[in-house]
Symmetry: C2
Subunit: 455 residues, 2 copies
């Protein structure tokens, strides 16, 4: 059953077969091979419109920005879709910036993250006139200031703060201290020290504050709690500097549905709650309501992609308790989806090439890698007549699937195709055997230095 909360909007069954973007699963597999990531272009566009539209309706025109978090997934064509959707882009490395540049994404709508940007990355960001650089250490503040100064630029920077709020799914904890690499702690005074350090540089303009409190969050409370802590920091700024910081970026982390158990917030509900809290707290603190930014990545691209695999083998295994489990092996695995092994993530799946009325049975969907932990879905009910040759579609793989893919076991990484109204096009091509060998070089050895004989 195609559950609307999990699958892209165009996903349906036609003649029993899964269809996405008007393209039949078997036709996709026949043309592009498996495994393949299938992006429902209309789904992504509609999510961008939804978030962007809701944001404008609730916060007002020009009252802030929706940033797409590139780390979830980025490619040149997707960056173009983001740009066409009129939202902004957050990048966290020179590589992600290079993709944005290749897509001609306007620099002023880019913010650059990262706890350890290289000098080259900072220089590239300043050269591309990115809207803001989110600074994350005292050393980096000096570094950005120096490079901006060398380039005769005044660079807008945002301070990454640590509000002591950490959220995941329905829970959050709020503490004074957080043992993480990101951010300047508000509670310890590190944030204020960083602010003072940044404001001393003439080549920097501190335009706002930022935080990021977690991932796959299903409740707005934690966002509200962290926004309040950041607003109090902004109030202190106003008291001591007499002016106000313009921007409040509450980061990303809005959850999506991977299985029927997940019940994500709607963009409207989430944004309304956050807006109310920010408005009332700003009023209480005597602040103008700041420009507010959010950074969904997973919530935009996650549900828009489906991974299509082909079943290679099935094997029944007898369990210690007398039960039996069917192992279903597909032609990908932890190289294209590490989230199950890495985070214990859960997914759902459907047979894509046909409908089956066979009884359901407990299956474990596994990959082809030489590792016991190479599991796509730990436990899932699938039709008991599932067999080699069947296509399996795993939805909600748009975020942190292809972006974290590896060549483990020298398995080529799958490509991404974009489907729309019955047509398909490759936006990231699948790797080939020769790609796997492309980095192998035969080079003559060179003597490195004279010291080398000095032992």
């Amino acid at each position: 059953m195609i559950m609307r909360s999990i699958w892209p909007i165009s996903a349906t069954r036609v003649s029993g077969e899964l269809q996405i973007g008007g393209c039949q699963a078997t036709s996709i597999a026949a043309r592009y091979g498996t495994p393949i990531f299938v992006l429902d272009e209309n789904d992504l566009k509609s999510r961008i419109e939804k978030w962007s539209g809701s944001f404008k309706t609730i916060f007002g025109e020009n009252a802030g920005d929706v940033f797409y978090a590139a780390k979830a997934f980025i490619s040149v064509e997707v960056a173009k879709m983001i740009n066409q959707g009129g939202i902004s882009l957050d990048v966290c490395t020179g590589g992600e910036l290079a993709v944005a540049r290749a897509a001609k994404f306007p620099g002023e709508r880019i913010e650059m993250h990262g706890n350890n940007k290289s000098e080259a990355e900072i220089a590239a960001a300043i050269d591309y006139r990115v809207g803001t650089i989110v600074v994350d250490s005292l050393q980096e503040i000096d570094r950005v200031a120096r490079i901006a100064h060398e380039k005769n630029r005044i660079q807008s920077v945002t301070l990454r703060l640590n509000p002591g709020v950490e959220a995941h799914t329905h829970e959050y904890i709020a503490t004074a201290h957080e043992d993480v690499k990101f951010g300047f702690s508000i509670a310890t005074g590190a944030a204020w020290d960083a602010l003072l350090a940044a404001t001393k540089h003439e080549s920097l303009k501190v335009t706002g504050v930022h935080c990021h409190i977690g991932s796959q969050i299903f409740s707005s409370e934690a966002f509200s709690a962290s926004a309040i802590r950041l607003l109090n920091f902004m109030a202190r700024y106003k008291n001591e500097f007499g002016s106000e910081l313009e921007n409040l970026n509450i980061g990303g982390g809005v959850g999506i549905a991977y299985t029927k158990k997940d019940n994500p917030m709607s963009a409207d509900d989430f944004l309304k709650t956050v807006k109310e809290v920010i408005s009332s707290e700003s009023a209480k603190l005597g602040l103008k309501v700041p420009r507010v930014s959010i950074e969904p990545g997973r919530a935009l691209i996650g549900p828009s992609m489906v991974t299509l695999y082909r079943v290679g083998t099935t094997k029944e295994v007898q369990l210690e308790d007398g039960g039996k489990r069917l192992y279903v092996s597909v032609d990908g695995g932890m190289s294209d989806n590490i989230r199950t092994a890495l985070y214990g993530a859960e997914y759902s799946a459907e047979i894509a090439n046909r409908e089956s009325s066979a009884n359901l049975r407990d299956c474990r969907l596994v990959g082809k890698h030489c590792e016991t932990g190479d599991i796509v879905i730990n436990s899932i009910d699938l039709p008991s007549d599932i067999a080699p040759g069947d296509l399996i579609a795993v939805p909600a793989t748009g975020a942190y699937g292809r972006s974290m893919a590896s060549n483990y076991n020298h398995v080529p990484r799958p490509g991404v195709i974009s489907v729309l109204d019955g047509t398909a096009r490759t936006i990231v091509r699948s790797e080939t055997e020769s790609d796997l060998l492309a980095l192998d070089v035969v080079e003559s050895a060179v003597r490195l230095d004279d010291k080398s004989s000095g032992k």
Copy 2:
């Protein structure tokens, strides 16, 4: 301090600086950039000689094979080193086989693993005349038989059995049933059924049995326990078929030292114990001592490589208990070493560009990725004067480091250089920004099928 059990044999300090293969760390970083994997060629060669020599001494000439497990790390140049060392190679995908082929690794010394080999992979293996294919499902037995038949070949196959023994570090459990994707269970009769199925095909020759019981194992007991179960299976074969299976492959999983807490078995001790158990059990069962194979991967390449990073930022974070932790950010992270995040693996590290007499303090070595879990070493004592610009060397990264590397956050994957007697050469080149964009394509959309308007 350069602990011998953790570092490659040539690692030493010269003028305070870390030197590997006669090359100074700063010279390596200056020429090749960071991060970079540094392979001590003599270390790898000496480990190959050690295992191969011990094996021959203990088991006898031509009494079996040492297979290098390519999944730990493989490249064309490393495959050549393995070949020159005279040992065999285990591959588990078409990609790994392609590397072997590019290195002109002799097919007869290759065995092919995998729970879900594609038809193309099976065909490629048969065409390359691999020594044996390890079969892992009833469907695959039929598949290999059919493809071999089509090619007029009789293919040697090995049955992957599940002895119900699972081992890790110092412990192991032995059960009747194992809930894993690999192998045919001996206890349930699946193994015997698979044997009967395989022996029915004229295009297959069952030459032995195989098992793999775990990873990072520090005791030979589990290997002995599984060998005994496999030998009993071989005895049943003799009873029912009148002839004997030639090969007993006890798999890999021999542990190495990542930190000073780890105390690996010596090759000699390990092989002697296993040899004694196999000899006495074979005698008891009335079997000839079979050819014995082992598959170390990590134990051969793991300690031979060191990752060289550069520190970009440091940040002191106050902890809830009043203590303080120094976060040290390097220019790589979970994209070049996922093992800490994925398995909770532990590593050690040293400042590589200088010696320091500063007091040690508790540090967390983290990467540059936009993720809280991007940790290289969770807790490690490092000199308190560690600062941006310092080089950090993390030893024992040869296995499952570069082989599992990703482009997460569009971070280019580091290359691998081989160092030897003061010289260096690239064997896998570092990726560049243009490599990151090489798979991005702009393609016109094509209509996939007529059904597409049929919803």
